[in-house]
C-alpha cells in the first residue's frame, strides 16, 4: 500500500518498517526503537545481544505475539496491522513455527500428540494433523519415539520434538528463542545441525541466542542493543540492512 513496500525485494518474508514498541509507563519504556528490517525467504539469521536489549521484544513482534506501537510489519505479504485478532492468530499458527528454550511440551501427551497440536487452531482435520506430525517427527529423526511421553526423552530429544511441532504445519519462518539454552554442548550441536538442515531445505530460520557458536553459524547476524537493531555483517545488500 505504501511505496516503500512495493519496492521490497522479491522473496522478502519479513519486512519491518519503522517498527517501535514502547511499554506503557509510567514512565514509558521504549523497548524497540524505530526499526527497519527485511528478512528474505530462506535466510538463516541469528539475533544476538545482551539481556534486556530488546531482542525478545523483536522476536515477539516478528512472531505476532506482541503488537508494535508504531510502524508497519508485513509477514509473508500480509500487512499485519490491518488484520483482526483472529487473522493475526491464524497467521501466527500457519506462517511461523516457534521453538522455545523451555520446549513447552505437554507432559501428559505423547510425542505424536504434542506435534499434532500444530494445525488445531486453523481447523485442520485431526487425520491430516497426525499425518503431518508423523512426517515432521521423521524429519527430526525421532520416528522411533513418537509414542513416548516427553518425560521419557532427553533434553535434546525434547527440543527436537518441539522443532517437529514447529515445522509440522510447513511455516514460512522458524522462530527460535534460545533453543539451546537448556542443552549441553553436544545436544546443542545436534539442534544447530537440525537448523542448518532446515535452512538447507529452504526454511527461513531466525534464532535469538546468547550462544556465540550458534550465532556464528548463521548466515547473517543481527545485533540488538538498547532497542536498536544493527546488521553485523556488511556482506549484505543494502536493502537487507537494519536501522
Amino acid at each position: 500500500m505504501t511505496q516503500t513496500f512495493e519496492q521490497a525485494p522479491p522473496g522478502a518474508v519479513i519486512e519491518l518498517d519503522g517498527i517501535e514498541r514502547t511499554y506503557p509507563g509510567p514512565p514509558p519504556v521504549p523497548a524497540l526503537a524505530a526499526t527497519r528490517l527485511t528478512i528474505a525467504a530462506g535466510d538463516y539469521v541469528a539475533v544476538v545481544g545482551p539481556s534486556g536489549s530488546g531482542k525478545s521484544t523483536l522476536l515477539n513482534v516478528i512472531g505476532l505475539l506482541d503488537v508494535p506501537t508504531a510502524g508497519r510489519y508485513v509477514l509473508d505479504g500480509y500487512d499485519t496491522g490491518a488484520l483482526n485478532p483472529s487473522e493475526r492468530a491464524a497467521l501466527r499458527g500457519t506462517r511461523i513455527g516457534f521453538v522455545f528454550q523451555s520446549f513447552h511440551l505437554m507432559a501428559h501427551r505423547t510425542v505424536l500428540e504434542n506435534v499434532a497440536l500444530a494445525g488445531t487452531y486453523v481447523r485442520l482435520p485431526r487425520r491430516r494433523r497426525l499425518a503431518q506430525a508423523a512426517e515432521a517427527i521423521e524429519r527430526v529423526g525421532l520416528g522411533h519415539r513418537s509414542q513416548f511421553l516427553p518425560s521419557q526423552l532427553s533434553g535434546g530429544e525434547r527440543q527436537r520434538v518441539a522443532i517437529a511441532r514447529a515445522i509440522a504445519g510447513r511455516p514460512k519462518v522458524l522462530l527460535c528463542d534460545e533453543p539451546t539454552g537448556n542443552l549441553d554442548t553436544h545436544r546443542a550441536g545436534e539442534i544447530v545441525a537440525l537448523f542448518e538442515q532446515m535452512h538447507t531445505d529452504g526454511m527461513t530460520v531466525v534464532v535469538v541466542t546468547h550462544d556465540e557458536s550458534l550465532a556464528g553459524r548463521a548466515a547473517r547476524q543481527l545485533h540488538v542493543r538498547d532497542g536498536v537493531v544493527t546488521d553485523a555483517a556488511a556482506s549484505r545488500p543494502a536493502w537487507a540492512g537494519g536501522v
Binding site: 522473496g11 500480509y78 499458527g93 500457519t94 513447552h104 500444530a118
Partner: protein, 419 residues
C-alpha cells in the same frame, strides 16, 4: 511465495482465520481432564456428593411417600368406626346404640352403608343339634355376634350361600343366623339349601347365609351372627371390655366428615357415649415430612453443590496458573483468546458433568439401597437422573467462567515467558 511478493500485498480479507473444530476442542478438554485423574476426581467430589445427595433426598422422599400412598388404600380411607363406650352414665354395662343403626346412618350424605356389630356374652354351646348333653358340644370356639345387614355390606364381605339377614329379620327379631366361613366349616354346613339350623344352647336359629372370606372384619369369620335386637334381648349387653361397634363405609373423601357427624346422628341426646375413629390423613403427615426434613436436606445438598462449584473453580484457577506456558504455546499455534477461554471452560464443564453423572449413579444407588432395605418400591421421577448431569454442567460452567476468563486475558508473550 518468492515469485509473488514484489507488488501489492495480499488483502487482509484473504488472510486465514483462526478456528478450532468442536471435536478437537472436546478432545483437548478430555485429554487435559484425563491427564490428571487423581486431581480431577478430587475436584469432582463436591459435585458428586451434591448431586448424589440431591437425587437421594428427592428419591427417598418420593419413595417414602409412595409407600405411604400404597398403605393408604381405598378400603382404609373410607372406613369410619364408631365405638360404644359400653357403659351408662352411672357406669353400668349398657348398649348405647339406637335400634336400626344402618338405616339411620344411611340417611347421612356420604355414607354408603353401615351397621352395628357386637360380641355377645354367650356361654351356651353352639352346635347343629340341641344341647342334649354338654359332652356333645362341638362349637365351643365359636363366637356369637349381633349384627345388621348393613354390617356385612360395610365390611365388604360377600355371602357365598343364602341371602343373609334383611331388615325384616332385624325388626321382627327373627331367630336367624349368618355364619362366618370358619364357623360354617366347623359346623359342617356348606349351604343353606337344606335349610340347616344351628342351636345356641337349646335355641334354634335358621341359617340364612354363609359368608365368604375377606372383608375388613376378620373376626366375623369365626362367628354366628344373629339379629342385633334379638341378640341383646336374649344375651344382654356386650361387656364393656368388648363394646359394640358401628362400621360405616363412606364415599371417598367423606370419612373425616362422617366421623365428626356419626355420634350426633346416632345419639343426639348423648353423643359423648360414642367415639368415632376416622382413618388417619396420611397426606398431611407426609406434607410435614416433606417440608421440614426435606427442605433441610435439600439445603445441605445445595451447600454441597456450592462447595463443588468452588472446588472446580479453585482447581481450574490453579491449573490456569500452572499451565501458563501451555496457554502461550496454544496461542503461538494460532489460538485466539476465545479458544483459550473455551478450552478451560470445556474442562470445568467436563469436571462438572462427570461429577453430576457419578453423583447421579451414587444417588440412585442410595435410593435403591434405602428402599430395598425396607422392602419398599423405589420411586424416582425419570427425568431426575438426567437432571443431575445438567446440574453438574451448570456448576462446572459457573465454576469455570472466572478462571477461563483469567486464562484468556494472559497476553501470549507473557504466557510464554512465565514458565
Amino acid at each position: 511465495m518468492a515469485g509473488e511478493a514484489p507488488a501489492a500485498h495480499r488483502s487482509a480479507l484473504a488472510a486465514p482465520r483462526s478456528g478450532i473444530r468442536v471435536a478437537d476442542l472436546l478432545r483437548e478438554g478430555v485429554a487435559s481432564v484425563a491427564a490428571r485423574p487423581g486431581r480431577s476426581i478430587l475436584t469432582m467430589t463436591g459435585t458428586v456428593l451434591g448431586c448424589a445427595a440431591f437425587l437421594a433426598i428427592i428419591g427417598l422422599t418420593s419413595t417414602a411417600s409412595g409407600q405411604i400412598t400404597a398403605q393408604f388404600n381405598e378400603l382404609e380411607a373410607t372406613s369410619v368406626t364408631v365405638v360404644d363406650t359400653g357403659v351408662s352414665e352411672r357406669g353400668e354395662p349398657r348398649y348405647n346404640f339406637p335400634e336400626q343403626v344402618g338405616p339411620l346412618m344411611r340417611g347421612l350424605n356420604g355414607v354408603v352403608d353401615a351397621g352395628v356389630y357386637a360380641s355377645l356374652n354367650v356361654s351356651e354351646t353352639i352346635a347343629i343339634r340341641p344341647q342334649v348333653d354338654a359332652e356333645a358340644s362341638a362349637g365351643s370356639s365359636l363366637a356369637v355376634y349381633g349384627g345388621e345387614p348393613g354390617t356385612l355390606a360395610a365390611a365388604g364381605v360377600e355371602l357365598v350361600s343364602g341371602n343373609g339377614m334383611d331388615e325384616f329379620h332385624i325388626q321382627t327379631r327373627q331367630p336367624v343366623a349368618v355364619l362366618g366361613f370358619a364357623a360354617a366349616a366347623q359346623l359342617g354346613i356348606a349351604s343353606v339349601v337344606s335349610q340347616p339350623t344351628v342351636f345356641i344352647g337349646n335355641r334354634p336359629y335358621q341359617v340364612v347365609g354363609i359368608l365368604g372370606q375377606g372383608g375388613s372384619l376378620p373376626e366375623l369369620g369365626n362367628a354366628v351372627i344373629v339379629p342385633i335386637g334379638l341378640g341383646l334381648e336374649r344375651y344382654g349387653p356386650p361387656s364393656p371390655a368388648t363394646p359394640a361397634h358401628v362400621l360405616v363405609r363412606t364415599d371417598l373423601g367423606a370419612a373425616g366428615l362422617i366421623a365428626r357427624q356419626a355420634a350426633y346422628r346416632l345419639r343426639p341426646d348423648a353423643p359423648d357415649l360414642l367415639d368415632s375413629i376416622a382413618p388417619p390423613d396420611w397426606s398431611m403427615i407426609t406434607d410435614d415430612v416433606d417440608t421440614s426434613v426435606g427442605t433441610l436436606l435439600l439445603a445441605l445438598a445445595g451447600i454441597a453443590l456450592v462447595i463443588g462449584c468452588v472446588a472446580i473453580a479453585n482447581t481450574t484457577l490453579v491449573a490456569v496458573m500452572e499451565r501458563t506456558g501451555e496457554i502461550g504455546l496454544r496461542q503461538a499455534l494460532g489460538a485466539k483468546r476465545s479458544h483459550i477461554l473455551a478450552q478451560f471452560l470445556v474442562e470445568s464443564v467436563l469436571l462438572g458433568a462427570i461429577g453430576g453423572l457419578l453423583g447421579s449413579a451414587l444417588g440412585i444407588a442410595a435410593v435403591l439401597i434405602g428402599s430395598v432395605s425396607r422392602s419398599w418400591t423405589p420411586v424416582l421421577e425419570p427425568a431426575l437422573p438426567l437432571a443431575a448431569p445438567v446440574v453438574g454442567i451448570v456448576v462446572g460452567a459457573l465454576a469455570g467462567l472466572y478462571p477461563s476468563w483469567q486464562a484468556s486475558r494472559i497476553p501470549p508473550a507473557a504466557a510464554l515467558q512465565r514458565v
